[in-house]
């Protein structure tokens, strides 16, 4: 993994984290927004421009790949590099959680 990608993505924004987390299975942009809204009880809302920009950037950086198009919806999925980055971020969040007294 390049250090540059690591530097850009870790720590991750909440938006970036949820998008990458959701893309462990194949999904499209609006579907991710709906799922994240549900997962966070409506606390995290990812809007259209933010979603499009994030997906384009992650695809360009090789964290996700374009799977196929379905009725004008582009489906994406996480790559090996994306999985590594996601795991690093999960470890980081777990460490934060431990240090604030969680288990």
């Amino acid at each position: 993994m390049t250090d540059k990608i690591k530097r850009i993505y870790i720590p991750m924004t909440e938006t970036g984290f949820y998008i990458l987390f959701c893309l462990q299975e194949e999904m499209h942009g609006y579907g991710i927004t709906q799922k994240v809204k549900e997962m966070t009880d409506g606390e995290v809302i990812i809007t259209a421009g933010t979603m499009y920009g994030s997906l384009s950037k992650m695809e360009k950086d090789g964290l996700i790949y374009f799977v196929r198009e379905e009725e004008k919806r582009k489906l994406y999925c996480i790559t090996e590099l994306g999985k590594e980055i996601l795991q690093l971020e999960i470890d980081r969040i777990k460490r934060v959680y431990r240090n604030i007294g969680g288990v």
């Binding site: 938006t15 970036g16 942009g29 809007t47 259209a48 421009g49 933010t50 499009y52 920009g53 004008k72």
Partner: protein, 187 residues
């Protein structure tokens, strides 16, 4: 019966996209719906005054899948109007909408990323033209001064006007983007 039409000319500089959004939203609120924009000429159609919010996006590389891009915004309830100079114009009826549904950006990182895109893709070329063409030519015509050759006078006037105009654009945009950056990093 054809609806009543109103036309107007407006200058929209790169860093003024939030003002553009506010202007179009206000026009619609007072009963003038944007029909199209062509070479700085804004055409509005008379309509019922309504709360319709206008938003501008500047997405990199959307040309290759413009229809997917438009379809995606459509899923979030945004009606695509048209593209002008790389900016995509969208609108949405906002009665009884939660605040988050009236924005196309939900975090400051993506707002800043869009700004950076505009600067790299649109403002940089203006800089390059300014530094490589206008500055050297302006200096040249100034050094020559005015003489009796009409062509020289014409060139002097043209380069002076262009120099002033480009300087204005660059200063205006730099100040505008700085203000936006401050606003985005604060929230």
């Amino acid at each position: 019966m054809n609806p009543e039409i109103k036309k107007g000319i407006k200058l929209f500089l790169l860093s003024d996209y939030e003002k553009e959004e506010a202007y179009l939203t206000e026009m619609h609120r007072t009963g003038w719906k944007l029909k199209n924009i062509s070479y700085g000429i804004y055409t509005f159609e008379k309509c019922e005054p309504e709360n319709v919010i206008y938003r501008l996006d500047f997405a990199e590389d959307k040309e290759k899948d413009l229809s997917c891009y438009i379809a995606m915004f459509g899923e979030y309830g945004w009606e695509y109007i048209q593209d002008v100079n790389g900016y995509s114009y969208f609108r949405k009826r906002t009665n009884r909408l939660a605040e988050e549904d009236t924005e196309i950006f939900s975090d400051s990182e993506s707002r800043l990323a869009m700004m950076k895109n505009i600067i790299d893709k649109k403002l940089m070329p203006v800089w390059v033209i300014f530094m490589l063409i206008l500055v050297p030519n302006f200096v040249k015509v100034m050094l020559h001064g005015f003489d009796d050759i009409p062509l020289h006078t014409v060139l002097t006037v043209i380069y002076t006007l262009l120099f002033v105009w480009y300087s204005y654009i660059l200063i205006h945009c730099r100040m505008g983007f700085q203000k936006l950056k401050k606003k985005y990093t604060k929230t």
